[in-house]
Symmetry: C2
């Protein structure tokens, strides 16, 4: 492949990254996950409990948010802890996150999620009766 072709790809990548981000943020499940993670870092099973959703659904959507650069993941023993890396993320991503947070202010679905989050415990999916 020619140098030129590579350049064209690089130029298109910025746009692709942006649409990827916006796509990640255009789904209700993922907006709810993001909002919960703005409250506190969580493992998959805590997200399951807060949103009252299945394990695979939680895991897959966390992966999409991570892939879009909105979350970071670290292992902590048996768990993988997801968090919003407010400082480390690209500036345009943190702008979006701030806008989303504001847009979700007072939202009732979110309120319920945050309520359930309070009683969520770091216990595996197998012990979450869902």
């Amino acid at each position: 492949m020619s140098i030129c072709a590579y350049l064209v790809i690089a130029l298109k990548e910025a746009m692709r990254n942006l649409t990827k981000t916006m796509n990640a943020l255009s789904d209700e499940t993922r907006l709810r996950i993001l909002r919960v993670l703005l409250e506190k870092e969580c493992c998959v099973c805590e997200i399951m409990q807060a949103l009252d959703i299945s394990q695979s659904r939680a895991s897959r959507n966390l992966g999409i948010l991570r892939e879009a650069g909105l979350l970071r993941a670290r292992r902590d023993g048996a768990w993988i802890v997801y968090s919003v890396d407010k400082e480390g993320m690209q500036e345009y991503l943190s702008d979006m996150v701030k806008a989303i947070r504001k847009a979700l202010e007072g939202n009732q679905v979110v309120a319920l999620d945050l309520e359930r989050l309070k009683t969520a415990v770091r216990v595996g999916p197998s012990r979450v009766n869902h």
Copy 2:
């Protein structure tokens, strides 16, 4: 339908509006259209020329942005002029628009669109050889 059921629907509407907005902003064509309209209000045929896309594609995506509350449309003679209503739109929408604008700064695809916009004329689709 009971009052309760209506309340539940109303509570869910805020979330639905947000995902609708984000969805509208998660497509490359629509991000490009929005960016062009931040430069100057346009009729459909000017958007066609700036982005070098078909008439139905321009019209449909303008409609989606409009439906999401991001654009307003007014008739001007034979034309329908679309614009970003920066003052009139919901606050969370204008936050998103600002973030998008910043994210697209220096983007090459956008640069080409804006270049073509300069030479775009308000002449109907039938006279745009595409």
